[in-house]
């Protein structure tokens, strides 16, 4: 039974691959997550209890300490993950991602210390794995914490002139320090090593800070794949296949996922990172400057309109998530259906702040899955729709994407709500959405604005429909 550890690691790697594959299909997704978790369990058992040694297989040192640490981590992680609000999940993912990055950096730190005198004779590959794990782990850690802070509203945007230039300089500086360290460390000079850590941390800050809060999901996905690469470095260092496999798998899958997310917003990754759009969203108080005038409507009117409609389509957006209005909208849907009105939801692929945001949100309130219709399928239906209720959505219904080539969202596919007979928009003000641009739709003669927090407005509608 000498090779039991290898077999457990093999099972672990298999669990990751098969689990991720299963997560790619709605039917098997949840089981896939469990399969991946089982893979992790195998890997942990393998490393703790089946260490190869001269006297055969035994348990690692400090097993009590390790068990205690795992216990603490499990308890805290479990509670955090169970307690978090559905809408706060993206920042939670970011936080956990940061923990992984920190873990990778700490490993490199200790490994460097352990190597001690043998640094001078270290093969280049090994040094590369240690230092890359350190740098990438640190960037991922600091970057994820910043992203978490931004998403949970603790940190604002922050831009400075020449930021791209500075970032490139920073990167070069990190590489230079890492290079110098290789030579210097052999003489016991640790200065460059510490410099690498500090510079990587600063780079993580500078890299994520200027990007608009709304672009954070993309950034998190990218940092996710960074952490994967950092884990792979560890796997390479220890010739540990399960770390290598898991890390590389996440590194590659995460990168593809990032690209796919950008594509769905009709933007390139560089565009997101340089922050051409995202950054301006905070400063977008330019609303209301447009030529035409908007028509404000009252909840009572909207309630009548909907109650006597044949077909109503709800267009949920980021505002629905902010207002936590998913339950009220479901209640409204039930009332209308009871009156014989056909109600559907139009799901734009990038509505909200993460892909599938609206599905997740509405599923939470038990909206039936087949009422959620994807963009391509619902677009032809607007022409036969009496009322479109736009709840906290903005960019995804902005006709500028089709008509104005100078618009930053030009070319992004949108929901053709202007084909419907009546449009009602629920939002708090005339402020713009994520892309920070005007929306002509609000000045459309068919369009009425119901100002106020989405949850409150919907609650009013519910009450009106009930009492009518």
């Amino acid at each position: 039974m000498k090779h039991i550890q290898e077999v457990l690691f093999l099972l672990g790697s298999l669990g990751f691959v098969v689990g991720l594959k299963m997560m790619g299909k709605p039917d098997s997704a949840r089981k896939g997550n469990l399969v991946a978790a089982a893979g992790m369990l195998f890997a942990v058992l393998g490393i703790m209890f089946f260490k190869h040694g001269e006297e055969g297989i035994h348990v690692v040192n400090n097993v009590g300490l390790i068990t205690a640490a795992i216990g603490i981590g499990t308890l805290v992680g479990w509670l955090m993950a169970k307690r978090v609000q559905m809408t706060a999940m993206p920042e939670m993912v970011s936080l956990f991602n940061g923990m992984g990055g920190l873990c990778a950096a700490l490993i490199s730190l200790l490994e460097w210390k352990f190597k001690g005198d043998s640094i001078a004779t270290m093969p280049a590959g090994e040094y590369l794995a240690i230092i890359a794990g350190l740098i990438i782990g640190t960037v991922s850690f600091v970057g994820s914490i910043v992203a978490w802070g931004k998403l949970s509203g603790k940190l604002g945007d922050f831009r400075f002139p020449g930021q791209q230039f500075i970032n490139i300089i920073m990167l070069l500086a990190i590489v230079a320090m890492a290079w110098l360290n290789f030579g210097a460390a052999a003489d016991g000079n640790m200065m460059y090593f510490y410099l690498v850590i500090v510079l990587a941390a600063v780079y993580g800050l500078l890299f994520v800070f200027p990007i608009g809060g709304a672009d954070m999901p993309v950034v998190i996905s990218l940092l996710n794949s960074f952490t994967g690469v950092a884990a792979a470095c560890g796997g390479f260092l220890y010739h540990n296949n399960v770390m290598l496999m898991g890390g590389v798998l996440v590194g590659s899958a995460g990168t593809i996922l990032t690209i796919v997310m950008c594509k769905a917003m009709n933007r390139s990754l560089t565009n997101v990172l340089i922050g051409a759009v995202g950054g301006s969203s905070a400063a977008a108080s330019s609303g209301g400057k447009s030529g035409g005038s908007v028509r404000e409507v009252q909840a009572t009117d909207v309630a009548i309109l909907m109650k006597y409609a044949q077909k109503v389509i709800v267009v949920p957006g980021y505002g629905l998530a902010v207002a936590q209005a998913q339950h009220v909208v479901h209640e409204l849907e039930g009332l209308l259906e009871a009156e014989g009105v056909e109600v559907k939801y139009a799901i734009h692929p990038v509505a909200g702040r993460m892909p599938g945001h609206m599905n997740v949100l509405l599923a939470e309130s038990n909206v039936s899955y087949d009422k959620l219709v994807e963009m391509e399928h619902i677009n032809p239906e607007f022409a036969t729709t009496d009322v479109v209720l736009v709840v906290g959505a903005n960019d995804v219904v902005n006709p500028a994407a089709k008509t104005d080539p100078s618009s930053p969202i030009y070319g992004m596919p949108i929901l053709d709500v202007e084909n419907a007979k009546q449009i009602v928009v629920l939002k708090r003000s005339m402020k713009s959405g994520y892309a920070g641009i005007e929306n002509e739709l609000f000045y459309n003669s068919k369009c009425g604005m119901l100002f106020g927090d989405a949850k409150e407005s919907l609650q009013k509608l519910v009450n009106e429909v009930k009492t009518l």
Partner: protein
């Protein structure tokens, strides 16, 4: 040049593994419906928690009198576990919402 060839030669099977795994990762994600992208990101996040294995390894090799290493390793294992457990639990919660039989809207 020689350095590169040596590096490749010495780590050849790991290089194969890395390349194949990159392919697998790309192919797996390339064909996934966009609805699942967020849970998938979260699931991938949990999987890279495998870095925990490395933390256990270093803590498991630290000497009993090396307090610095014990403390750093201890923290490493805690944060690694946070990544793993938090990642899988959050993902499970997200996917729980897809439990209903997907209808027409779920396609593509």
């Amino acid at each position: 040049m020689d350095l590169i060839f040596n590096f490749i030669g010495e780590n050849i099977s790991m290089i194969y593994l890395v390349i194949l795994m990159v392919f697998v990762g790309i192919e797996l994600i390339g064909h996934v419906p966009s609805v699942l992208h967020t849970p998938l990101m979260s699931g991938a996040n949990a999987i890279h928690g495998v870095v925990l294995i490395g933390a256990i390894y270093v803590l498991g090799h630290a000497k009993g009198d090396d307090t610095f290493s014990l403390v750093v390793g201890f923290i490493g294992v805690i944060v690694g576990t946070l990544n793993v457990i938090g990642g899988f639990v959050v993902t499970d919660r997200m996917l729980e919402m897809f439990k209903k039989k997907p209808g027409k809207g779920a396609k593509s």
